[in-house]
Symmetry: C2
Subunit: 624 residues, 2 copies
């Protein structure tokens, strides 16, 4: 039982999400007994006020009476710090326009917050009840910059009642996302400030795009009133299908659940039901298991030309059977197209690694009953060590090993098929174009390159989580600017893609042009349909391996169950609020010189920014 831990430890093989559930308890007579009872009902934490209304406090009249509320000794500090979400008195109104109410509220707020710090609770919960919360934002932000170690949970309704009120005019409608957005902007998007959403009634569940935008926010918990439960045929309380679907949307970002009730009795049914829901809604997918635990984690793109890959990287690659089966299909179709007068077709695998594509080529040879000669070109001597072993024990003399860089190696013969897997998350970002332009020297003029082509895509992105990850994980030897001028490969989870992705750059192989130019420039325009926060751009790619055999990580065409690539994110320096209906425009460059290739980017609309990463000063892909 704890409000902090989110995951089961390794070794728990049960395939489900952990549904961490808290119970809202209003002014229990004995907090200790209330926690004990919540624990027995199966709850993981308790949401409650730390001051009791019995302790009326009038702080502004003379010397304050020192008694604040419950004594800290009713729980052990470990219990305070694990199980208690401290809800501040909701009637405190530091944004009141009535001066004495404002002053009294401020004194009460600071006293309660100080007491929460004294108790060491992990979370302080506050509610937004109106549009303007400037005073509250200032007080919370002041606390944050002085090194507040706990978290603030800011509660708003997922949909403001005015949205569906028959008596509210269009100009009276409130958007609770705007309340939240204003508030966390005051607090400089601090990672200690999360949002808690009150679930709406079924009939007021918002549109998909509104929910999408919430998924791009640091949602910490959903509040579920017990009145939303309906009785199933077995007489057990369950949520309606639409509520279940709504909850499923939030499963990926691991929110917690707060059960709110006015009734007494057996409250275990609700936490049991959520536990059951976690099992039911969790989509078990063995292929996705080994990428769990790296959600929203920043990875620097590989530099395979200058650094040898290590054995664990090869192993992760090789686990993606979908990718290599697809490659094998492409090699098969290509081999079928090699003219019959070529007695023994030559297949060159460039960047062979530990040999998965060599194996795919040999599989095709076996399937088609057609003898082939395979060259495996690999510059990493430690991967060659493995290939030697595989030649000796698995492949025999069908395969010739070459321990050299594909850009300088001089082959004894030319190839019919050139196979490579040099693509990064953004297609060309691991210098596949430069490598294959070099390697095609040993491809016959009518030879086939697998892949034949690849295209990069971009889309505007809202992810406060990623903005904070970049800001908070600066290595000691880098400036913050350097960190924002660098793309990251990320298993994106807590994000909102603001508009559909659009094609950016395309490369084709072989490229027999007299002059090959791999520099590129393009401007893309996206329509922003609802107000949101732009924090950067997310990149994808797709590739035609051969004919109709393709691989893709573009969200709309993503190859099923393929996990080899995560999206790439190009950040902006600062989050930018973009109004619904406006246009987001970006300029994007691929630039190169003798030593390196790099990207530059800048926002053109709705605001112009300076060009990021000029001259590749913060990030580049080295050629040597």
């Amino acid at each position: 039982m704890s409000v902090e831990t989110q995951y089961f430890p390794d070794g728990d093989n049960e395939k489900r999400k952990r549904m961490s559930t808290g119970l809202q308890i209003n002014c229990p007579h004995s907090l200790r007994l209330a926690i004990q009872s919540a624990y027995e009902f199966g709850y993981h934490f308790v949401v409650t006020q730390i001051t009791h209304p019995n302790y009326a406090r009038e702080l502004l009249k003379g010397k304050p009476p020192p008694s604040i509320g419950r004594t800290d000794r009713i729980l052990q500090s470990l219990e305070w710090s694990r199980y208690i979400v401290a809800e501040l008195t909701p009637t405190i109104n530091v944004d009141s326009e009535i001066d004495h109410v404002q002053r009294k509220s401020k004194a009460l707020f600071l006293q309660e917050l100080g007491f929460a710090v004294h108790l060491g609770v992990p979370v302080v919960k506050i509610c937004l009840t109106k549009r303007h919360n400037g005073q509250l934002g200032r007080l919370v932000n002041e606390k944050l910059v002085h090194g507040f170690n706990s978290s603030f949970w800011v509660t708003v309704p997922m949909v403001h009642p005015s949205q569906y009120s028959p008596i509210c005019g269009e100009d009276e409608k409130e958007d609770s996302w705007e309340w939240w957005n204003d508030f966390r902007t005051y607090c400089n998007y601090d990672k200690h400030v999360g949002v808690v959403l009150e679930l709406p009634e079924v009939r007021y569940i918002p549109t998909k795009s509104e929910v999408d935008r919430w998924i791009g926010e640091p949602v910490r918990a959903l509040i579920v009133p017990t009145s939303y439960f309906i009785m199933n045929t077995h007489g057990k309380p369950v949520l309606s299908r639409l509520h279940q679907e709504l909850i499923q949307r939030f499963l990926s970002i691991d929110v917690q659940y707060i059960i709110k009730t006015d009734t007494e009795g057996d409250l275990s049914v609700y936490t049991k039901y959520l536990h059951f829901l976690g099992k039911k809604l969790y989509v078990s997918d063995t292929n996705l298991e080994f990428i769990q635990g790296c959600e929203d984690f920043l990875q620097n793109p590989l530099q395979p030309l200058t650094e040898h890959l290590e054995t664990n990287i090869y192993e992760v690659f090789e686990k993606d059977q979908i990718k290599y089966t697809t490659y094998q299909n492409a090699i098969q179709k290509a081999l079928e197209d090699v003219p019959a007068d070529v007695t023994i077709p030559t297949i060159m695998v460039v960047g062979a690694g530990r040999g998965p594509l060599v194996q795919a080529a040999l599989n095709v040879s076996y399937i088609l009953h057609r003898k082939v000669k395979v060259y495996a070109v690999e510059k990493n001597p430690y991967a060659i060590n493995t290939l030697i072993d595989r030649v000796k024990h698995e492949w025999s003399d069908q395969v010739t090993l070459i321990n050299d860089d594909m850009r300088v190696y001089e082959p004894p013969e030319k190839a019919d098929i050139l196979v490579s897997e040099l693509l990064g998350s953004f297609g060309d970002n691991e210098l596949s174009p430069e490598c294959l332009d070099g390697a095609q020297r040993f491809l016959k003029r009518n030879g086939i390159s697998i892949p034949c082509s690849y295209t990069s895509y971009l889309a505007p992105l809202q992810s406060i989580k990623i903005f904070n990850e970049i800001r908070n994980n600066r290595p000691a030897d880098k400036t913050l600017k350097t960190c924002y001028e660098t793309p990251y490969v990320i298993h994106l989870v807590n994000y909102y893609q603001i508009a559909p992705a659009q094609a950016l750059f395309k490369f084709e192989h072989p490229n027999w042009s007299d002059v090959i130019n791999n520099e590129r420039y393009k401007k893309l325009r996206f329509n922003c349909t609802q107000t949101c926060i732009l924090t950067g751009f997310v990149g994808f790619f797709d590739t035609v391996l051969y004919k109709d055999v393709t691989l893709s990580i573009h969200p709309e065409t993503h190859t099923h169950e393929m996990v080899s690539w995560f999206p790439i994110v190009f950040p902006l320096m600062e989050p930018l609020k973009v109004s619904g209906g406006s246009v987001i425009e970006i300029s994007f460059w691929r630039v190169e010189n003798q030593d390196k290739v790099w990207y530059e980017w800048c926002l053109e609309s709705p605001a112009k920014t300076c060009i990021m990463n000029p001259g590749g000063r913060s990030y580049s892909i080295k050629k040597h």
Copy 2:
């Protein structure tokens, strides 16, 4: 089974040290089978060469033959990274004076090290076999500064055989500590470089002070040859009492054990025996349990005058029953000395916190059947909140609460006994002198202060661990110099106290002098009996509470089972090698101005350093 994890997870209540044991395996035919077998015997990891002597490698003759050794695919990357300590070929001699041997060795060394990196093993083990290892040090250091993520284990004998060889003259005797010390100095004391010690035969076990010095080193493992085991009366192999005592010395710093054997058969007996030894030698001490897990962890000293303590700090304090029982004894002796004509003696507890000393005073009143009036002065409003509750439910009107700073409060009457617990790890370092000088205003002229006096102590310290903790945990907003000019409170474990502690500063209360001066200066001289590395000074204190009732954290007089205070460490900027027989001299100041108190210190001998923390620029204790 893993070479990395050292502790049982929380919740394992078995009272013993985990004895993590590895098996040295020389050139197994099948590494996979060897690991499987070691696992079944109960070992946690395996020490073995990653290249096989069958793969003769002649790197300098023309193009290197690419095959290095075993293929990486015989184990999964997770297995390489958890279970394998890679021992480099011991015949590699990069420090050979024969040029071609040196060049060939360097090529082999770099290839093996590169292969170890490729495999992702957690540890690379190398052996020092002679005095001068400059080339090896340079190669390892070059790897370290390029971001080596694994560890190096450097193996030396705990005692060099020349020390007890009858044919070695005094000038031919080698000190293996010097070998190790030279090597890690080349590597700038990098935390990734640890030492592995070969256990000596019983008759060559070194002196206590030599072992003490090893305890101050980053010892990662002890090598135990199976030939050291003797058969007990049950026919089971055990270690002799002297070997057991030697191992017990290393228990506190959590070394691992490597079993080295030439024999075949059931090797589980050795790991079972070490497991048993862990249970047998572990000194269970319930009072020490709650300080486990903070070994060698840097804590910043409290600033109780400017920051309110939080509930978990009070709770930790209150758990130390030894301390409060001793306080109660002192209060009892003091109350017995209050003249009988004082009808109701007044006891003022200043800095009452959540009331443990108030409770002690009331206990004494009950024991002596003498009514007392207790004032509890406390400035923290959240602690006062607790005290209000205790007055209401436990103490009633015997206790008067005062929510004010003891330095400004004006009491209605003067006290017979003034009780406080304002002492830090260095005695005066939480400004007890300044606070009690202020608070004695409300002590009767013949009144008693508990404590009556306290004294700080200093001793020279070797702890590479702490030097590295300071260097590697620099907060983003501080310079490295600031970090070295700050004292830290530390539960010291991996350290060597170079000489006995000496008294530094003493303070007495009440202090009725006309002019009170709490500034101090003293020079201390310590004799260094054996060559070692000075990294700073460690501070302690003792206090006379009243008459013969004392508390102490001085190592020679430490109050049994008291855990409220850990030692304090004053670092130096750089480790300094000090020869056996030389003198270590330090100048130490306590300085104050209107706003703050601070310490300055500098080494006078064997080398002069600049004065650390001038003007309190990096660390001071604030008065307001």
